[in-house]
């Protein structure tokens, strides 16, 4: 079996300027900081980031925003990171951030659709609002729905609580968030793991993310703190 365990630097080596990256977590709880740090260190630019939110300054995706590496952010909420608004409104072209807001449930479902081969789905969320702009409205059995399309990415950064050497992963508490859907929706998937165990140590009934999705495993992920 291929060895998937590597350093954070090795794991992010393929990430290039302009890449699209999904980042798990919710307000950085469930975000693999060790991988974010490696991308900050690498300094790649013009990234499109798909994440529930913008973290906070100094945490999660917030670090990439502060470092000017994010060109486009697709998220459901950015209110707790004031830097996002600043960069959305800046006149300095190279600092400019485009932010595409997506309802949280729609965002989760779009990522799921991307990973599961669906061409889209019909949701009642956003009907009659500016979220509906430019989208097909489809009437099914007496109700209007928006047709929402799948999201995929070049890379996904996943935070695992316990990961075996094949990549099978579990998530403790509220660290699960977007991680399981993102693990299926990107071409190259990196798990930042709090704990790495031998294959077979996780009960097959309790695995949440299959190792078949995982390309790289990086140990040493730290506990979350706000």
């Amino acid at each position: 079996m291929k060895n998937k365990i590597m350093t954070a630097q090795e794991a992010v080596a393929g990430i290039h300027d302009g890449a699209t990256i999904m980042v798990g977590g919710f307000m950085a709880c469930g975000t693999p900081e060790i991988l974010i740090d490696a991308i900050v260190e690498k300094g790649v630019k013009h990234l499109t980031i798909i994440c529930n939110d913008a973290g906070v300054p100094g945490r999660g995706v917030g670090k990439l925003v502060s470092n000017g590496q994010v060109k486009t952010l697709i998220a459901s909420h950015v209110g707790l990171n004031p830097e996002v608004a600043q960069r959305m409104n800046t006149d300095i072209e190279e600092d400019k951030l485009e932010c595409i807001l997506v309802p949280q449930g729609t965002l989760a479902e779009r990522v799921r659709a991307g990973g599961t081969g669906l061409g889209g789905f019909l949701t009642p969320t956003g009907v009659g609002t500016i979220v509906a702009e430019g989208k097909a409205v489809i009437h099914v059995d007496g109700r209007d729905y928006l047709l929402e399309k799948p999201l995929r990415a070049d890379f996904a950064l996943i935070r695992g609580s316990v990961t075996d050497k094949f990549g099978n992963t579990t998530y403790n508490g509220t660290t699960r968030t977007f991680n399981p859907m993102m693990a299926a929706a990107a071409d190259y998937v990196i798990v930042g793991a709090c704990e790495i165990v031998e294959i077979g140590e996780i009960d097959p009934n309790n695995v949440v993310t299959s190792g078949i999705f995982v390309d790289a495993i990086v140990g040493g992920e730290k506990p979350w703190q706000i």
């Binding site: 919710f26 209110g79 309802p103 729609t106 009642p124 699960r176 977007f178």
Partner: protein, 217 residues
């Protein structure tokens, strides 16, 4: 007079039945859990992945892997479950949440709600609000009646909508209102206010219930 937020939270709490699955927004709505009547136990859903959320974690006893949707350390009750965000919003959009309680920037007589954006000024994002108000069986707006005197309960929302035609009930420090096909029905009035006062604080024309009662506190 008690704290305005406490009045509102206490009144909202009376809308909840034993066993209800409830999602409470950040801020005032979160206080509702402190005012549940004796014998009423609700199951709190937190959209970041908890069914059966408990109170805030005690200082020094936090589990760093367990936070609420406001990123504060919380506990979970016995019988809780953790899940991912697609599952969480499947529960929400699927109609399995009995009530969602949240604030508003504006709400109108058609049950339209605007609570997520002030274009050019405040663009925090809708988070889970659009899904919650569309999916929950009952949408209760819990808020102060006016924004420093400016109307928030309108004929027509002026800010971009969170969703259209979704609000069931508005509870403020002045009274309790239900959205009906005919408009906003005032069913309870806080004893500190008159009908004229609450109407003056409301842009939409209130329909006064023939059974208007003092606000249940």
């Amino acid at each position: 007079m008690a704290d305005i937020k406490e009045i509102i939270a206490a009144r909202v709490a009376k809308e909840l039945k034993d066993g209800d699955v409830v999602n409470l927004g950040i801020g005032l709505p979160t206080m509702v859990a402190n005012f549940l009547p004796e014998g009423v136990h609700i199951v709190l859903q937190s959209e970041n992945g908890i069914m059966g959320m408990g109170p805030a974690a005690e200082k020094g006893k936090e589990d760093v892997d367990i936070v609420n949707a406001g990123a504060q350390y919380v506990t979970v009750n016995s019988g809780a479950m953790f899940f991912d965000s697609a599952t969480s919003f499947g529960i929400i959009r699927g109609g399995h949440v009995d009530a969602t309680i949240l604030g508003a920037l504006e709400v109108d007589q058609h049950g339209n709600l605007s609570n997520w954006i002030v274009p050019g000024k405040m663009v925090p994002g809708m988070g889970g609000a659009m899904d919650l108000v569309v999916g929950a069986k009952k949408v209760i707006i819990a808020m102060q009646h006016t924004q420093k005197g400016a109307h928030k309960i309108l004929k027509e929302c002026r800010l971009p909508y969170t969703a259209v035609g979704v609000v069931d009930m508005i509870i403020t420090e002045m009274g309790v209102m239900e959205i009906t096909p005919e408009g906003i029905l005032l069913t309870e009035l806080h004893p500190d206010y008159t009908v004229d006062q609450i109407q003056a604080a409301t842009e939409a024309e209130l329909i006064i219930s023939p059974e208007l009662k003092p606000m249940v506190l």
